[in-house]
């Protein structure tokens, strides 16, 4: 496949690239979307009499704690990938980006396992707000992880084609911003969904 020579990227007059500005604007709007859903969750949970109905299974902390650790690790591999290409090390970029993709895919696999296990135990979005908000929040986040893994894979393929260099790697920085945002949202979801038990209402 034909690849073009990497162009040198120059920051705009305000000392950042427009791509980065666009990504931050997107992340800001996406954050408002997430916070809308999280606020909805908090309002429903605080005002509910019985949040977890009889028969609703509890969410497992050990598995999701491990998932949190995987996502945190994938953030570290992502910044390491960026650090490698900032030094012009394309092989390093490919290796660490590959590990980030692996981390994202592992997280998704564990989420699929968790969902199927909970559904098997009788958790249904039709039965209670407890289940409906759980599926809504983790599903919306899982969608972001899926998009992140696809985005990272596209960047990995472009890196393999030689599209990035020490002078031109803003796409790697942008995908990194998106990936860290996904990690950041999970930190909040893990706390409010899994760590605050029903008994403290």
């Amino acid at each position: 496949m034909e690849t073009s020579a990497p162009a040198i990227e120059k920051p705009g007059p305000l000392n950042f690239t427009w791509g980065k500005m666009a990504m931050w604007l997107f992340l800001g709007s996406d954050m408002m979307g997430f916070m809308g859903l999280i606020t909805l969750y908090m309002v429903l949970r605080i005002s509910a009499g019985d949040w977890q109905l009889p028969g609703d299974p509890c969410f497992g902390i050990p598995l999701t704690g491990f998932m949190t650790f995987i996502l945190i690790m994938s953030s570290v591999t992502m910044v390491t990938a960026l650090s490698r290409i900032q030094k012009g090390n394309v092989k390093g970029l490919l290796f660490w980006l590959g590990l980030t993709i692996l981390g994202g895919a592992t997280f998704l696999s564990l989420q699929v396992y968790e969902w199927s296990h909970l559904i098997h135990l009788g958790l249904s979005a039709k039965k209670s707000n407890y289940a409906a908000t759980f599926f809504m929040l983790t599903g919306f986040h899982g969608l972001h992880v899926t998009i992140g893994v696809i985005y990272l894979s596209c960047v990995w393929i472009r890196a393999k084609q030689g599209a990035y260099s020490m002078a031109s790697h803003s796409t790697v920085e942008l995908v990194g911003l998106f990936w860290h945002f996904v990690d950041l949202v999970w930190i909040v979801l893990f706390t409010i969904l899994y760590l605050i038990p029903d008994s403290v209402q």
């Binding site: 954050m31 408002m32 606020t39 953030s75 990690d183 605050i196």
Partner: protein, 92 residues
């Protein structure tokens, strides 16, 4: 502007994130009162969010304009939460 953050403490931040995650899990299982539990978890989650944003998203190295772009939606979120939560507590 972010360029090369070779001296960024990525692994030190990883250690803190891991420590705080374990601390959160222990805190959640320790049987504290409602206020202590939620307050402690909120503080630890907030520290984790700030660490990721400052060091992994490199906000620490960005200029004021980009900070403005980020803080504006944060302000809108705070207004939204302040608008909705009193309604929830009304039915508590």
């Amino acid at each position: 502007m972010s360029t090369d953050h070779e001296h960024s403490p990525y692994y030190k931040v990883l250690a803190w994130l891991t420590f705080l995650t374990i601390a959160e899990i222990i805190w959640a299982m320790a049987g504290f009162s409602r206020g202590m539990l939620i307050g402690g978890l909120a503080i630890m989650a907030a520290i984790k969010v700030v660490l990721v944003a400052l060091y992994y998203m490199h906000l620490k190295y960005e200029g004021k304009v980009l900070w403005g772009v980020i803080l504006f939606p944060c302000l809108l979120v705070v207004i939204m939460i302040c608008g909705f939560l009193p309604d929830a507590f009304h039915y508590w």
